[in-house]
């Protein structure tokens, strides 16, 4: 069934070393349009490195990454900037510009893409703040916000210019379980409402179960297992079992499991 769908992001034989250390050692991964994939793995296994290759921030030593059949490593300078328009990224700490108010942060990508009509900007910003349940927070400064709120504003900013691929870097790290759940719910909402393709890198398996259609486990520079949350849970590869095991007990959120299994790939 999956072969009939359009491949949005294709990663083939990706290798990258930093000095002596081989961080990625032949990663193969296909991500289909409208799909949400979580890449899990312990800290330092190269999850961020993988994502940086997708957006062209790093060049592979070997192998290739294509997005919409465009070879990412062929792009440079201005082309890369144009290419980035299809992406939105949520950073670990939100990465809000702390010299600007919340409103200006969310309006920033719109203004940068040449939207001059202030009414239109205001409308879009309000819409985005509403999406992340942060209505009427436009006048606050990033320093006034808690960690979870910053991530929500970060999400609003990333979504404002209507990207068709969303990247989430450790979306629940550093948040308490309740706020983490809120962020997960927003990611699912984004996924279902805008049909964006998304890659999430996380070591929070609980969060991965909630937001992903498929989960890929990165270990020693390779993807050792990729599958649906159910397949991951019943997987017998020791490294996967170990990663998944002690946290499955917490899986109480049936709502999200129901949401995940409902994906049919409508695009």
């Amino acid at each position: 069934m999956q072969n009939s769908r359009k491949v949005k992001i294709q990663i083939r034989g990706l290798e990258k070393s930093f000095g002596e250390k081989k961080v990625l050692d032949g990663v193969d991964l296909d991500i289909y349009e409208g799909e949400s994939v979580a890449v899990i793995g312990a800290s330092g296994t190269g999850k961020s490195v993988l994502i940086k290759h997708v957006i062209g921030l790093l060049r592979p030593d070997n192998g290739m990454v294509t997005v919409d059949d465009i070879n990412v490593q062929d792009l440079s300078g201005y082309e890369l900037q144009e290419f980035m328009c299809r992406f939105g990224m949520l950073f670990q700490g939100g990465a809000l510009f702390d010299s600007m108010s919340v409103f200006d942060n969310v309006a920033f990508p719109l203004r940068e893409r040449g939207v001059r009509d202030e009414d239109q900007i205001r409308k879009r910003v309000d819409e985005m703040l509403n999406l992340v349940d942060m209505d009427n927070s436009g006048n606050l400064m990033p320093s006034d916000l808690s960690g979870g709120m910053r991530k929500r504003i970060g999400l609003a900013r990333a979504l404002a210019p209507e990207p068709n691929i969303m990247l989430y870097d450790e979306p629940t790290t550093g948040l308490d379980p309740v706020v983490g759940g809120v962020i997960d719910r927003l990611i699912v909402r984004t996924r279902d409402r805008f049909h964006v393709t998304s890659i999430t890198i996380t070591h929070d398996i609980r969060s991965a179960y909630r937001i992903a259609h498929r989960i890929a486990m990165l270990y020693n520079g390779k993807i050792i297992k990729i599958g649906t949350p159910e397949e991951m849970r019943s997987c017998s590869i020791p490294e996967v079992e170990e990663f998944v095991a002690d946290r499955t007990a917490h899986l109480e959120n049936n709502l999200f499991q129901a949401g995940n299994s409902g994906f049919k790939g409508g695009n």
Binding site: L57, Q81, M84, M89, D98, R113
Partner: protein
């Protein structure tokens, strides 16, 4: 022997590595310099930061430097009855060297450090990566406006320092030592040539570029959290001050060797 070579080689390699990255950033900056959109508002914002906010400290430094120059040269010039030439000496020394170099050092301390700290903080909190993912080139958005602003404001500050320094020398000479004001002013400007002034201004523009580039470079490639930002800030100031003095010598040699 191996160890000796290691200790000799490692700093050299590090230096070449840093110089190379600095050069690459300069090339990148020049490449994005004429790209649309032109961020005029940002340029003005940084011009205010670099120029207007440096005014008090530049004014005080220049006035007192001119004053002390007159004060010191009086005692020596008096020994061979050349007091009437104090004005010439003060004006030439200020325009050629002291105004551009001192202004450069002050701006390096004030603005270079601020640039490194601001960009460094943006780097460690992933704001620079965020710019990139929002399809905004960080060099274009962060470095180009600072580069232009420093290039424009440094010569302006230097011109002001020239004037105030000459004024300081004038005050000390006429009020403290009772020299004839007309003679002093004539001595100041009769022998001052255009070359003395514009060589100083060209130098100061180059210093401005040096300060902006070093500060931005150090901030842009910061790593290692808050501590890294601190280190970047310190080394931005130290490096740009050293570069100013080195560049000053070579540009001076270039301008006045013939």
């Amino acid at each position: 022997m191996d160890k000796f070579l290691f200790y000799l080689g490692a700093p050299i390699l590090r230096f070449i590595n840093e110089a190379g990255r600095l050069a690459l950033l300069l090339i990148d900056t020049l490449k994005w310099l004429f790209r649309r959109p032109f961020r005029i508002a940002l340029v003005f914002k940084h011009m205010e930061e670099i120029g207007v906010r440096s005014l008090p400290v530049v004014m005080i430094t220049a006035t007192f430097t001119g004053g002390i120059l007159a004060l010191q040269s009086y005692s020596s010039f008096k020994r061979f009855n050349a007091e009437s030439l104090i004005g010439t000496m003060v004006a030439i020394a200020l325009c050629r060297e002291l105004a551009p170099v001192l202004t450069g050092l002050i701006v390096a301390g004030r603005v270079g450090s601020a640039m490194a700290a601001e960009l460094g903080t943006m780097r460690v909190t992933e704001q620079i990566d965020a710019l990139y993912t929002l399809a905004v080139n960080p060099v274009h958005y962060l470095i180009v406006p600072r580069f232009i602003a420093a290039f424009i404001m440094m010569p302006i500050l230097t011109m002001l320092a020239d004037g105030l320094g000459i004024g300081g020398g004038f005050l000390v000479s006429t009020q403290v030592y009772g020299l004839n004001p007309t003679v002093y002013i004539r001595a100041s400007f009769n022998y001052l040539e255009y070359e003395d002034v514009y060589s100083g201004l060209i130098k100061s523009a180059v210093f401005g570029l040096t300060i902006a580039l070093t500060g931005c470079y150090k901030g842009f490639y910061t790593s290692g959290g808050a501590e890294g930002v601190g280190k970047a800030t310190t080394s931005a100031v130290v490096i740009s001050m050293m570069l100013i003095l080195i560049i000053d010598y070579f540009m001076g040699a270039l301008f006045f060797s013939v």
